[in-house]
């Protein structure tokens, strides 16, 4: 045994490493059972229609067993880069779809002297291809600027990460930069509008959360 202990690579056990630790069950703080852990759920198959019955049952069983309270995360955004890419993609796609729909409806409902189905469809398609890419490109550029400025502001104000003022500031900067070539007045106006929209979104989500908690409390009372 004496030879072994002289060897440079001495085998170490878990007991040697963790032996000094004083683990007491009472000192370890248990998880608050009233507020169970909230998991962020990211499903590989978010469309419920495509799931088989067995998969759904298995999922429900698992949630009951582990007592998971989950809040649905719409997109797997964890890092700043993912936030940028997903924000950009979502804003581009919503702009494309919304602009296309707006153009289609505008062309479809325009009054015309002679009722002709072919001409009507042609006009609708023309307007949708005109408005769709325009709205998509503008929204995509805005989303790109907003997400990048948001992460920059988050890294600057390290004391309060994910503070909502960061989002509002990022909204103002990106809105002002988007219209920066049209003059100072227009730039500040558009920045203010964008920041106001972001703030309204935040207030709306806050109100929804508060009402949800109130409903939960009322249910627990009964």
């Amino acid at each position: 045994m004496s030879q072994r202990s002289e060897q440079p690579q001495e085998s170490s056990y878990v007991k040697d490493v963790l032996g000094d630790l004083n683990v007491d069950v009472d000192t370890l703080k248990p998880i608050n059972k009233d507020k169970s852990i909230e998991y962020v759920k990211i499903d590989e198959n978010p469309l419920d229609l495509l799931k088989t019955k067995e998969e759904k049952e298995r999922e429900l069983e698992r949630e009951k067993r582990l007592k998971i309270v989950k809040s649905w995360a719409y997109l797997p955004m964890k890092t700043n880069g993912e936030k940028l890419l997903y924000g950009c993609g979502v804003s581009y796609l919503t702009g494309l779809c919304g602009g296309g729909l707006y153009g289609f409806l505008k062309g479809w409902t325009k009054p015309q002297p002679v009722l002709n189905y072919k001409l009507r469809l042609n006009r609708a398609l023309n307007l949708s291809t005109k408005y769709g890419p325009w709205a998509g490109n503008s929204m995509g550029v805005l989303g790109l600027m907003y997400t990048s400025f948001d992460s920059i502001l988050n890294s600057i104000r390290k004391d309060e990460p994910n503070d909502y003022y960061n989002h509002i500031g990022a909204g103002f900067i990106s809105g002002a930069l988007y219209k920066s070539t049209a003059g100072l007045k227009v730039a500040t106006l558009s920045g203010g509008i964008f920041a106001g929209m972001v703030a309204l979104c935040g207030l709306g989500t806050k109100a929804i959360q508060e009402t949800k908690e109130k409903i939960k409390e009322k249910k627990e009372q009964y």
């Binding site: 590989e44 890419l85 997903y86 950009c88 993609g89 581009y92 796609l93 550029v141």
Partner: protein
């Protein structure tokens, strides 16, 4: 088999659209800034640069985004149909995307652009495989170092 380096499938469409849009916007912005600065007359260099960026960068970004989004969508449908994710998926989806985007300019052009898309994606996948092989051969599994038997005891 799932590719762990990419996001799961329905989300990948959004991610790919966003990444290609960002690529197109930043790359197109830099390229058009240089071009506008170079081509505008003296005294109006800066305004020429800004107008070039403003008018042309979003268009190139949109083109990129359409390519990337359509590619990811076709990739996801192919992988869900075939039940596996490999390089053939992306090669075929590149070809289909190229064909779909050039469909309005006639069948011959569509075929040519489909072949171009397939070849482009094949080259990208091949280079990726080569890099992967080269980097993974650095960490080949080695036999454990067995210590000599203690004969004193």
């Amino acid at each position: 088999m799932k590719d762990p380096t990419k996001d799961p499938c329905p989300y990948r469409i959004i991610n790919d659209t966003g990444s290609s849009f960002a690529m197109g916007a930043i790359g197109g912005g830099l390229f058009n800034a240089f071009k506008g600065f170079h081509n505008s007359p003296r005294g109006q260099k800066f305004s020429g640069m800004t107008t070039a960026i403003k008018t042309k960068a979003p268009i190139s970004a949109g083109n990129f985004a359409v390519w990337g989004g359509l590619f990811a969508g076709v990739d996801c449908t192919l992988s869900s149909i075939r039940g596996k994710e490999d390089s053939w998926n992306s090669i075929w989806s590149g070809a289909i995307t190229g064909g779909l985007l050039a469909m309005r300019s006639g069948p011959t052009t569509a075929c040519a652009s489909a072949v171009m898309g397939g070849v482009l994606l094949a080259v990208i996948e091949g280079v990726g495989h080569a890099i992967n092989n080269a980097s993974s051969s650095m960490y080949k599994p080695q036999p454990a170092n067995i210590p000599e038997e203690d004969k004193t005891k």
